[in-house]
């Protein structure tokens, strides 16, 4: 029986934890299996949950968020028979029973950035992040590169919601930021801000401009108003890990990018009319080139800086 440990944001964070939850639910429904889960409430519970689940025989133990990776690396050594999987984390040395899954968010963001630039009439696009942390800059940086690749002179307005945990759950502030960006000319806004993003998408729909969702497919929230969503298939990763069960291949890290369909952009009936064939063609072309290595999207992580936007 697998176990799933969510990061501090909780499983209803409108972001990758919720995606993980969705993946697990889908797995449970498809296989009829059951899994154990915990939403930790404090830093100290990370290690506690890992050990308790491992001791109780859950296998594999799947975790989300980079913050748990380090302690997971240490705990894993004490439980060689248990497999540990982490989404988003990084470890310099990976123990044999650990699998690290990370996503090339910048690539997905690059593609939605291209779409944003193509859809924009004002040549001004917005980005709203939850908090000024490297992960969010990473999203924003890929997005900015995508925008600039289509319209080198386009203006990018970026805002971060705040510095306290409330920053991820303040849709009202998200709305106001969106309005502020709209009044500065933005007509497409990409939100990477958890629950705050709900407000961004809402306001964009109300004000009749386009928005871009994040992590999971949020197109359905406002049909015809959400240009697309940057998909980060945490749900797939979790689904696959649970499906593989105790036999999952570990001792390595896996990077899921465009090539692996780990990231992407959402196309469905809700946004079919928003994406012209030209737009799709251009994006598909870029996607192929990125996979082929012809276009290199710079990751903010590489040297903590972004070529397309000065955070």
């Amino acid at each position: 029986e697998p176990a799933l440990i969510y990061d501090l944001g909780g499983k209803f964070d409108k972001s990758f934890n919720e995606a993980a939850f969705n993946g697990a639910e889908r797995w449970a429904k498809d296989t009829g299996g059951s899994y154990r889960e915990i939403e930790i409430q404090s830093e100290a519970q990370r290690e506690q949950a890992l050990r308790r689940f491992a001791e109780a025989g859950f296998n594999p133990v799947v975790t989300t968020g980079f913050a748990i990776a380090e302690i997971m690396g240490e705990v894993a050594k004490d439980y060689p028979d248990t497999k540990f999987v982490n989404v988003d984390g990084f470890l310099p040395e990976i123990p044999d029973n650990v699998l690290l899954i990370s996503f090339q968010e910048h690539q997905g963001s690059y593609l939605v950035g291209m779409l944003a630039a193509m859809a924009s009439e004002s040549d001004t696009v917005g980005f709203i992040g939850g908090m000024d942390i490297p992960l969010i800059r990473h999203f924003g940086c890929g997005y900015a590169q995508g925008v600039k690749s289509v319209k080198p002179d386009a203006k990018i307005i970026a805002n971060m919601t705040g510095t306290t945990p409330a920053a991820w759950n303040d849709p009202v502030k998200g709305s106001e930021l969106a309005k502020a960006q709209i009044s500065q000319g933005a007509d497409v806004i990409y939100a990477a801000a958890g629950g705050t993003g709900v407000g961004v998408l809402q306001t964009a729909a109300d004000e009749n401009i386009l928005s871009i969702g994040v992590d999971s497919n949020q197109n359905h929230l406002h049909p015809g108003k959400v240009l697309t969503s940057m998909l980060k298939r945490v749900d797939v990763a979790v689904y696959d890990a649970m499906t593989a069960g105790p036999d999952i291949e570990t001792g390595k890290s896996m990077t899921l990018g465009l090539a692996e369909d780990g990231v992407g952009y959402a196309v469905d009936e809700n946004n079919a009319e928003l994406l012209s064939d030209d737009m799709k063609a251009a994006v598909e072309d870029a996607k192929a080139k990125i996979i082929a290595g012809e276009i290199s999207v710079v990751s903010y992580y590489e040297n903590s800086s972004c070529p397309a936007y000065d955070f």
């Binding site: 501090l8 909780g10 154990r36 889960e37 915990i38 939403e39 930790i40 409430q41 404090s42 830093e43 100290a44 519970q45 290690e47 506690q48 949950a49 050990r51 308790r52 689940f53 980079f66 913050a67 380090e70 705990v75 990084f90 908090m131 000024d132 942390i133 490297p134 992960l135 990473h138 510095t163 306290t164 945990p165 992580y301 040297n303 903590s304």
Partner: protein, 367 residues
């Protein structure tokens, strides 16, 4: 003359209140379709039934002792310091800067230095609101609320732009040198009590206990404490007695801030070994509830802090084994605060009547 014997007031009333809170919690648990009896057993077993449980319960309690004492000290001077969150945040920064500054050879050296760093930074974060309150009459509640937000921004900036090792994408400081690692309960008590290696409770708990004693001495046995309480009870009388309001406001708030800051040695140095975003996790606000419930007395704070530690660890066990949403734990915490802290008279009044009646009938019999 008191109506009730002290034990009834100190033990019986809180106990019945707690039971009431538990009954309502049980109804909520029933409401979401789980078994309340099993949940209760799990909480008690998981939090108090083993060294493992105690190792976590006391870890959380340590945080709440520090922040609870912080609120209490200020409270005695009639200062409502809601800035514990921000002061503890800055305390964490202090600990991190100290721990990262030198290749500390041994924790026995690092601990006093880090404690000093935590206290200094926490006190510094309380100093501006205190100064404004003393000199400009600014309301301490507003300024400390504002400083909570500002503190969060400072920490965010420091972690993202200054303390984060270039190679790491995690908004957190580098790992502290090994020499700063504090002895955990496992290291400290291993031959006598078998705390598992992983429990986060550490020597900071003992420091917290010492802090309780020191605060008790400070408030009730020193001249400064005497003056502080006098000022808190009656500013006009304090002025008559020649007690300087500035001295008391500044002194009490600096001590309060220092205590809140010291919480960081438990979380930042003791548990995490590095500084992360939001390492305070609301303990500053819990400190308010702890201080109020503990009637601003160190002994009361200690008990209330352990109660909250129990709720945290018990809640974690619930979350681990019963797939109970963490919001339920928050609800239980709210109910416990409500019943033991705010609705205590609902229990006390009838009990008082019983005691009064017994006393009267005994007097009547005696006459």
């Amino acid at each position: 003359m008191e109506v009730m014997p002290k034990w009834a007031d100190v033990v019986l009333v809180p106990l019945i209140s707690l039971v009431l809170a538990m009954i309502i919690s049980a109804l909520v648990i029933l409401g979401i379709g789980e078994d309340p009896w099993a949940a209760l057993k799990l909480m008690v077993q998981g939090a108090l039934g083993s060294p493992y449980g105690w190792g976590y319960t006391l870890y959380y309690a340590t945080n709440f002792i520090f922040t609870g004492l912080a609120v209490s000290v200020a409270f005695h001077a009639a200062m409502f310091n809601i800035g514990g969150e921000g002061q503890a945040t800055l305390g964490g920064l202090g600990v991190a800067l100290v721990c990262l500054a030198l290749p500390w050879p041994h924790w026995a050296l690092a601990l006093p230095a880090a404690t000093l760093g935590a206290a200094l930074f926490g006190a510094a974060w309380a100093a501006i609101p205190a100064y404004l309150a003393a000199k400009r009459g600014s309301h301490i509640v507003i300024t400390t609320i504002m400083f909570n937000f500002i503190g969060a921004a400072v920490l965010n900036y420091m972690l993202v732009n200054v303390l984060r090792p270039p190679s790491s994408m995690d908004p957190a400081s580098a790992k502290f040198p090994d020499g700063t690692a504090l002895p955990s309960f496992h290291d400290m008590f291993s031959p006598i009590i078998a705390f598992p290696k992983s429990v986060p409770a550490n020597i900071s708990f003992l420091i917290a206990l010492v802090a309780c004693l020191v605060v008790w001495l400070l408030i009730w046995r020193t001249r400064f404490g005497f003056e502080l309480r006098a000022f808190g009870k009656s500013e006009s009388a304090a002025v008559y007695a020649g007690i300087s309001p500035t001295k008391i406001i500044m002194g009490s708030m600096l001590i309060s801030g220092a205590l809140a800051g010291m919480m960081a040695i438990n979380t930042v140095q003791g548990e995490a070994g590095r500084l992360v975003l939001n390492s305070v996790e609301g303990a500053g606000f819990i400190g308010i509830a702890v201080a109020l419930m503990g009637r601003s007395h160190p002994a009361g704070v200690l008990i209330a802090a352990i109660l909250f530690g129990f709720l945290y660890q018990g809640g974690a066990e619930l979350a681990l084994w019963m797939s109970i949403p963490r919001e339920l734990v928050v609800v239980i915490q709210g109910l416990v605060i409500l019943f033991t802290g705010a609705l205590d008279n609902m229990v006390r009044m009838p009990i008082e009547r019983v005691f009064l009646w017994r006393r009267r009938s005994r007097q009547a019999a005696g006459e």
